[in-house]
């Protein structure tokens, strides 16, 4: 292949005319933009433009079936959200489900990555095994867990019964249902995050550990004093990605609720912001109010991002100062 290029180039190279060198310079200048253009065009068309349109819609009353009739509401949709109990329930649920699905997940992933980083037999099997849940979809995983969590005949209550915990109502009660939904998220993503941590851990120089073990540091101390600080950027990255994922939670609570999935359970006990947005926009046909929920989600994400940014900056400055 390379010789092809060479042969052809050689035939034109000797007397490179002016227009050709101009073309060459144009190619050098323009081609980077041509290469990144598909991404930005796609984002402009399917990301940015709809995002702004959603913002515009959120200031109106719009019916799903008559989208051309728009009635100006100003910030009315937002003030209505502010005084709406269901919105606050959805916001609280998104937060609590987000915390109980993200925190244990990342901690377990960290531990698993540490274990996988040892020299051992069957490491290939363990790695593929813990990644297997990643191959299942939200829909399939949720349908399976709905069965496993069934209060009357599910596997989990049957197993809990054996250790003396009787009849937890995973469907109807607030905390159990939120824990069950978090279990689905945790099951699907722990292995994936463990492998990302593993990648970062493999980049930590081995002699750091050897030096530490010569100094008498045990494995736990090596983990907390060498591993965790060394892979802090990766940990931050997974925290950001998982919290973004948690704010968007939709399919799990929808399908976990079965027939009452859209409202997030009979008492909205596990309705997330995404579900609330869908309920407003489609079953209730109020696109304006749904858009206001979407934009509230964006503002919340920006807020979370800002807090995370400030924390990292504070930590950096703090460390440099100390």
């Amino acid at each position: 292949m390379a010789t092809n290029v060479r042969a052809e180039a050689a035939s034109v190279a000797p007397a490179r005319p002016a227009w050709r060198s101009r073309l060459y310079r144009f190619d050098l200048k323009a081609s980077p933009y041509a290469f990144i253009a598909p991404f930005f065009l796609c984002f402009a068309a399917f990301g940015l433009f709809p995002l702004i349109w959603t913002g515009w819609l959120s200031l109106h009353y719009v019916d799903l079936l008559k989208p051309d009739v728009m009635e100006w509401k100003g910030l009315g949709n937002y003030t209505r959200l502010w005084s709406n109990d269901q919105f606050w329930t959805a916001l609280r649920n998104t937060f609590t489900i987000g915390v109980i699905s993200t925190v244990p997940q990342l901690l377990m992933a960290l531990g698993l990555a540490h274990l996988l980083n040892y020299r051992m037999r069957a490491r290939g099997f363990f790695r593929v095994a813990i990644l297997a849940p990643y191959a299942t979809s939200i829909a399939a995983a949720t349908l399976v867990f709905v069965q496993l969590f069934n209060p009357d005949y599910g596997f989990i209550n049957w197993a809990l019964d054996a250790v003396g915990i009787h009849h937890t109502n995973w469907y109807a009660d607030t905390w159990p249902s939120q824990i069950a939904i978090s279990a689905i998220v945790t099951w699907r993503w722990t292995g994936y995050n463990a492998l990302i941590y593993l990648a970062a851990m493999q980049a930590v120089p081995k002699d750091l550990y050897e030096a530490a073990s010569l100094d008498g540091a045990n494995r736990w101390q090596q983990f907390t004093r060498i591993t965790v600080p060394s892979i802090r950027p990766t940990i931050l990255f997974t925290i950001i990605v998982s919290s973004i994922g948690a704010t968007q939670l939709f399919g799990e609570p929808l399908l976990f609720g079965g027939g009452v999935g859209v409202s997030g359970g009979s008492a909205h006990q596990f309705q997330t912001l995404s579900l609330y947005m869908y309920e407003l926009g489609w079953p209730s046909r109020q696109l304006g109010r749904a858009s206001a929920v979407a934009w509230t989600m964006l503002l919340l994400l920006l807020l979370v991002g800002l807090v995370q940014f400030l924390i990292t900056r504070y930590r950096k400055r703090h460390e440099l100062g100390g």
Binding site: F39, L131, S213, R219, L287
Partner: protein, 304 residues
């Protein structure tokens, strides 16, 4: 044995008083990264938790609906698999769904890999004004949730009368920020500047360089990215659920219909069969290519 006999002076066989502590330390230093029994036990528990729901899906899918809805739950496979598969096939458009998901995930994977490689190459190896700012923008777009674009996109799709067509699911996912970033990380390390310079000196224009230099170097990363995107696209739920109907569903949309009903007359075994059929293609890919997918994720290109 032969090796031990031929090197009796190496010290391990009969250490002197002075050598013993060094030997002890050396052994500890050498074994600090070897897994102990506790590590094996914990990993085995993690593997069981990861795999058990998959096994149980198969168990439930091969039993009768009545058996699944009894306590204690069934633990061994039954003989009802084919009956359940044919029922699931009738209840939801599983055949269409599998075909549709393959088409969608295939198109999305191909175009994402192609466009991500182009953009990743530009960000990794070409100099142009605004490069760093634009790269930051690419990463920033990852934080925008799909919920922000669903409502206008839904309007456009209904206006175009694409509500039941696969292009409405494919078009918005033609390229992904994650892919651009992935390829940039890979190419900044894997592709030497000298290779590009040499091709330029030979008079090759940018498209030629892409074809003859970038693609051959990027091929392993393109394969991994293709698999990751295929899995993601196959499992994508929110937008297909909003825009497609049960007449022309992807696997996930069909599953949401099987499981979305309420009441006690629903055959739980058939629901599990749907989940099994919808997951099986990906599990097969995993069984064959799992090591490469793991290798791709652990190569470190996924994170920053």
């Amino acid at each position: 044995m032969a090796a031990t006999l031929s090197t009796p002076t190496a010290g391990s066989a009969r250490p002197t008083e002075r050598e013993r502590p060094r030997g002890l330390f050396r052994r500890r230093a050498g074994e600090h990264d070897k897994a102990g029994p506790v590590a094996y036990l914990l990993l085995a528990v993690a593997a069981v938790i990861s795999l058990f729901p998959l096994y149980w899906t198969f168990v439930a899918a091969s039993n009768t609906g009545e058996r699944v809805a009894q306590s204690p739950p069934p633990m061994v496979p039954g003989g009802q698999l084919w009956t359940n598969v044919s029922t699931a096939w009738e209840q939801a458009e599983m055949g269409t769904a599998l075909l549709n998901s393959t088409v969608v995930a295939g198109c999305v994977a191909l175009s994402t890999v192609l466009f991500s490689t182009l953009a990743g190459f530009a960000f990794a190896k070409l100099r142009f004004r605004g490069r760093n700012a634009l790269l930051t923008l690419v990463v920033a777009t990852m934080t925008v949730p799909p919920q922000l674009s669903v409502i206008p996109l839904y309007r456009i799709i209904t206006e175009l009368d694409w509500g039941n067509h696969l292009q409405s699911v494919i078009l918005p996912s033609l390229v992904a920020a994650f892919g651009v970033f992935f390829m940039r990380q890979f190419l900044s390390e894997a592709l030497p500047f000298e290779l590009i310079e040499a091709a330029r000196v030979d008079g090759a224009h940018s498209l030629r360089i892409i074809w003859h230099v970038v693609f051959p170097v990027a091929r392993p990363a393109m394969a991994v990215l293709g698999m990751l995107v295929f899995v993601q696209s196959w499992n994508d739920f929110f937008w297909p659920f909003v825009v497609l109907t049960q007449q022309n569903p992807t696997v996930q949309v069909a599953l949401s219909a099987i499981g979305g009903g309420s009441g006690h007359d629903i055959n739980q075994a058939v629901i599990m069969t749907g989940a099994l059929v919808g997951t099986l293609p990906l599990l097969l890919i995993f069984a064959v290519l799992g090591k490469h997918i793991v290798g791709g994720i652990t190569s470190g290109a996924v994170k920053s």
